[in-house]
Symmetry: C2
Subunit: 211 residues, 2 copies
């Protein structure tokens, strides 16, 4: 994962590669957004959503990240999903199985309240599909307090590692356990809010939540 991320111009829409980037973006819900302020790099974890070739971010209207990004500076948005630990017989060949996507682009503010609300629904549905319809929608004051950014993907690349360890031939004779330890994000038992209305059923999208 520390090898150079190959950057490629976006191929035609619908090609395998951009679809691979989309699949990884859609499987993740936490992005790490990178930008520079006076030459100093910042990396901020944030939620996001995707609609076609646009990514949406939101935050407080007072946030430095939001104000910096809406000025149109170059943005790098990265997601990474860890799928397992790869244990080889040699320390050198240890690795992890992962899927990562690195996206470069520039952002602009979404100002129109209707489009803002739609973008927020995209972020919400990306995180918990089915939730937006149940929750009280944002009112105009809440929309004003929320900054929403639309990021156009200019370039993107995907990296994936799967499978077991690959040891040097002579190391297969070593008495060392080798294999893969799969890792997954799992949902635990939902914890109802103390003030939950009596008799309120647990929605299916929470009961069946999977990433």
């Amino acid at each position: 994962m520390t090898e150079r991320t190959r950057l490629r111009r976006l191929p035609q829409r619908g090609s395998n590669e951009i679809e691979a980037v989309y699949a990884i973006l859609d499987a993740a819900f936490l992005a790490h957004v990178g930008f520079a302020v006076d030459g100093l790099p910042f990396v901020i974890p944030t939620l996001f959503g995707r609609a076609g070739d646009r990514l949406y971010l939101h935050g407080s209207a007072a946030s430095r990240m939001m104000r910096t990004l809406e000025s149109g500076v170059p943005v790098c948005l990265t997601v990474a999903l860890v799928d397992g630990l790869v244990l080889a017989r040699s320390a050198f060949h240890h690795s992890i199985n992962y899927r990562s996507a690195v996206v470069f682009g520039t952002a602009r503010a979404v100002e129109d309240p209707q489009r803002k609300s739609e973008a927020l629904s995209v972020i919400s549905e990306h995180l918990i599909a089915g939730r937006w319809a149940d929750a009280r929608p944002p009112n105009s004051q809440e929309l004003k307090a929320t900054a929403v950014l639309e990021l156009t993907i200019d370039e993107a690349s995907a990296k994936v590692r799967t499978g077991g360890p690959a040891d040097d031939e002579e190391d297969y004779a070593l008495p060392v356990w080798a294999g893969v330890l799969p890792l997954t994000m799992r949902a635990g038992e939902p914890l109802a809010d103390e003030r939950l209305m009596e008799g309120m059923p647990l929605p299916g999208y929470i009961k069946e939540y999977r990433r």
Copy 2:
């Protein structure tokens, strides 16, 4: 999480805050490393290790990230752990429970083979405590092919959100399920390598692996 990360000068070693940063760094194993090349931001996911106030990164000696970072450019290293989805009655008050740490510093190459090997053991033990002693250690050729960086922490901040949703008072009357869906990284069944030596027992540090 999209609010501005407060940056504070590192307090005296041993204070609560730097201990909070360390605790979050130690709970995570994937970092997102940010740096700029010709003003363009890059965010690259990578493994890391910590020994006191130093962080260690490794990668291919040919990696652009490693070559860029060892030139002493400013680095931002961020880790984020998602602990749960926070479902409020209003869309606006939805959130996630998380722990994140943002570290600023500069890196230098670790060149001495002995120190390089020690740094690699720190990264390895950070990922899977107990593994380093079992695996074949790197030989001199492997050490040459591996770049190792030591990052001194100049500034750092931690952010943590815990607990349930906080709705606007009038929204508690809405018939909407509210609460927290906890999320955790879990290990699945270990998958032995096809060429595993017969009778090789599964090490305890794999059987009992927890993050």
